[in-house]
């Protein structure tokens, strides 16, 4: 069978599986729809969280990004995993004990204020839409490359699939589809990585191969790559070029943002008990770490391979994958000095660089680079789609529950019936899919870049008020509202100013203290903490029933079934 035939078969098979699971696990109550009836086992929830969490950006773009950034790519690796420690220690068990359906639920009740609830709803919708736009684009790219369908048609197909299982199954359907999607995506990621590791280092475990020796030269692989970088005028791979402060702030923004993302937080509402919530975070990180420790290895293998096969080599001797990808426009060669050879050089070289490589290729082209059989290429396509669809579904659920539960049931239309609320939840999920599809067809920027901003916004809005809501009884509604507004406004303004209004000023010389827009979420978070704490000191303390609620959240006993209270 050809590559394209395999891709069709594998993608179609995986889609059938997802739809089958959705039909089997459809939701019959709002509790099913929002939190999967709180009956998900911690292990399954961990796997679903991993799929929910790892987006098209993690699967398609991250290894490529690291490949180009070297050490600087560590911000993504540490940032997107370290947040789980915060989730386990500071958030998940307490939010599970509280037993709400959504994040604004908690914020509204803890801060005894409809205003706080509405602010939280706006933040949740804003963060989720920023994030989901990137996912739909990812779906389109995979379809475009592997099935030679128009990107827009790809987006529309993706929308229909998500629509079907998110609207039908709600959180319950999403959870069990995500378990299947995790299996598909991790298999699709590991197979080419293992083959590449064997090919380059002779060690089948990529995490170990990364620290092993390059079979071609007998040198340590990382040393060899550093040497190649030096020859070609790139910065050393293992040291990077970003300032230490910026690396610090970006890492912190991504970590804290992870712990503040509504679609990640609500996953821990779905398990039966507080102790399940704790261990479930652990399982989630195990499943995520599997991909996240493989990605830097893939980055190095792909980078070494790219340089070895193309640098200063005649254009006519390029391998087949090179010409294949050239046709997609993701790889461009411009023979500036007319010598017929590919000069692939860095900023420190006296020569002109002639090769432009789109970072997404690094993962997508791996099977071809490693000469793997056609079915592996199809598998990577199915994996990329699984990653994008699972994240999109989780985000859409946040949007839908924000509208039907937080806005209607808890704020504007408390008299709505269970049936009415479930119907509204389904309708808002459907509307959200359509809007996400629109953004997928008219994307606001790079997939990974857009996603990175969602973290800054989550870090500067939810993280501080949830933490303080649990750990400081004295935090007041005035503090929390002003804190969220100031944190998110500052972060959004900084990002919009440098990325949209004045992109020409977007460099270290103009940034505050050299902190890039990716890292500004950390500053926003600090401002949020500061404002919330200060305002809380000067406003009347929370009423006694809220202080009792905080006491109750801190003790696991009696968590089973608090959601009945709604």
């Amino acid at each position: 069978m050809t590559v394209q035939a395999w891709t069709f078969v594998l993608v179609a098979a995986s889609f059938t599986l997802y739809i089958g699971i959705a039909v089997w696990s459809r939701a019959t109550s709002t509790k099913d729809f929002y939190v999967a009836g709180t009956g998900v086992s911690p292990l399954a929830n961990g796997m679903a969280t991993a799929a929910d969490w790892m987006s098209a950006a993690s699967f398609i773009s991250m290894a490529g990004l690291i490949s180009f950034m070297g050490y600087d790519g560590s911000v993504y690796l540490m940032g997107w995993t370290g947040g789980y420690v915060l989730l386990a220690l500071l958030l998940a068990p307490y939010l599970r004990k509280y037993g709400a359906f959504t994040v604004p639920d908690f914020v509204g009740d803890r801060y005894y204020s409809q205003t706080a609830r509405i602010v939280a709803v706006v933040c949740a919708i804003f963060v989720s839409f920023t994030y989901v736009a990137g996912q739909m684009r990812g779906v389109g790219i995979v379809f475009g490359r592997f099935l030679e369908v128009d990107v827009n048609v790809g987006v529309i197909i993706g929308c229909f699939i998500v629509l079907f299982y998110a609207v039908l199954g709600g959180m319950k359907g999403i959870t069990y589809t995500q378990v299947a999607q995790y299996c598909v995506l991790i298999f699709a990621y590991m197979v080419p990585a293992i083959f590449l590791s064997m090919m380059i280092t002779g060690n089948p475990i990529p995490q170990l191969g990364l620290g092993g020796t390059d079979q071609g030269t007998g040198m340590a692989l990382l040393e060899r790559l550093n040497g190649l970088h030096q020859e070609l005028g790139f910065a050393a791979y293992t040291s990077g070029t970003k300032s230490m402060l910026d690396v610090f702030f970006i890492t912190a923004a991504l970590m804290v943002g992870t712990a503040g993302l509504p679609h990640v937080i609500i996953r821990f509402y779905t398990v039966p008990r507080v102790r399940d919530a704790r261990i479930s975070v652990g399982w989630a990180l195990v499943f995520i770490a599997l991909l996240y420790t493989t990605a830097p290895a893939v980055a190095v293998f792909a980078r070494t391979n790219l340089i070895n096969s193309v640098a200063d080599t005649p254009y006519t001797e390029m391998p087949e994958w090179f010409t294949n990808w050239e046709a997609t426009g993701l790889l461009e060669f411009d023979d500036a000095n007319g010598d017929g050879r590919v000069q692939f050089v860095g900023p420190d070289s006296p020569m002109t660089n002639e090769l432009t490589v789109d970072r997404d290729i690094m993962v997508l082209a791996n099977p071809e680079i490693a000469n793997l059989p056609a079915w592996v290429v199809g598998l990577v396509a199915a994996g990329g789609l699984a990653a994008a669809l699972s994240t999109a579904a989780g985000l859409l659920l946040v949007v839908s529950s924000a509208v039907s539960h937080d806005l209607l049931k808890r704020a504007f239309l408390p008299a709505i019936t269970e049936k009415g609320e479930l119907l509204t939840a389904r309708i808002s999920a459907a509307v959200a899919v359509v809007i996400a599809g629109y953004f997928g067809i008219n994307p606001p920027g790079f997939v990974a870049q857009v996603v990175a901003f969602a973290f800054g916004l989550a870090a500067s809005s939810f993280f501080p008020v949830i933490i303080l809501g649990i750990f400081s009884k004295r935090t007041t509604r005035e503090g929390a509202i002003l804190g969220m507004i100031s944190g998110v406004t500052l972060t959004a303004a900084y990002i919009v100013y440098f990325r949209l209004i004045h992109p020409e000023l977007d460099n270290a010389a103009n940034w505050w203290f050299g902190i890039s827009p990716e890292g500004i979420g950390t500053v926003g978070m600090l401002v949020n903490f500061l404002v919330t704490l200060t305002v809380s000191r000067f406003t009347p303390p929370p009423p006694p029933h809220v202080q009792e609620l905080v006491e109750l959240i801190r003790i696991p006993k009696g968590a089973s079934g608090p959601s009945e209270a709604h």
């Binding site: 050490y71 990364l210 230490m244 704790r278 770490a289 420790t293 006491e551 003790i555 089973s560």
Partner: protein, 109 residues
């Protein structure tokens, strides 16, 4: 669970007052906070400490038995492994603490 038999050897526990419950809960919370700070200190050390601030000097040595520069290894591999271990250690500590203070949930479901 395996507490020593109390000296008064009463057949059943005397009714605990609200004040005692509150005190026990406060002690439970204090212990929880202490575990939290210790684990967060390690979390900070391996990522921000070894992976970012000290990565330059650490790169001068290799992770024993491999050719990883140590700072780079912490930034792209080691910190992630430590994160996983930290969460499981926390789970273990808290499950024990829940038992000790008798605040664990019923085994149902």
């Amino acid at each position: 669970m395996n507490e020593q038999p109390s000296e008064s050897a009463l057949p059943s526990q005397p009714a605990v007052t609200d004040l005692e419950v509150t005190k026990r809960h406060a002690e439970y919370w204090r212990r929880n906070i202490r575990y939290m700070w210790i684990l967060l200190a390690i979390w900070f050390l391996v990522s921000y400490g070894f992976g970012i601030i000290l990565t330059g000097p650490l790169n001068a040595i290799n992770l024993p038995g491999t050719s990883f520069p140590l700072g780079f290894w912490f930034a792209q591999q080691g910190s992630i492994y430590v994160f996983v271990v930290l969460i499981f250690v926390y789970v273990k500590l808290m499950n024990r603490l829940d038992q000790e203070f008798d605040v664990n949930e019923s085994e149902g479901i």
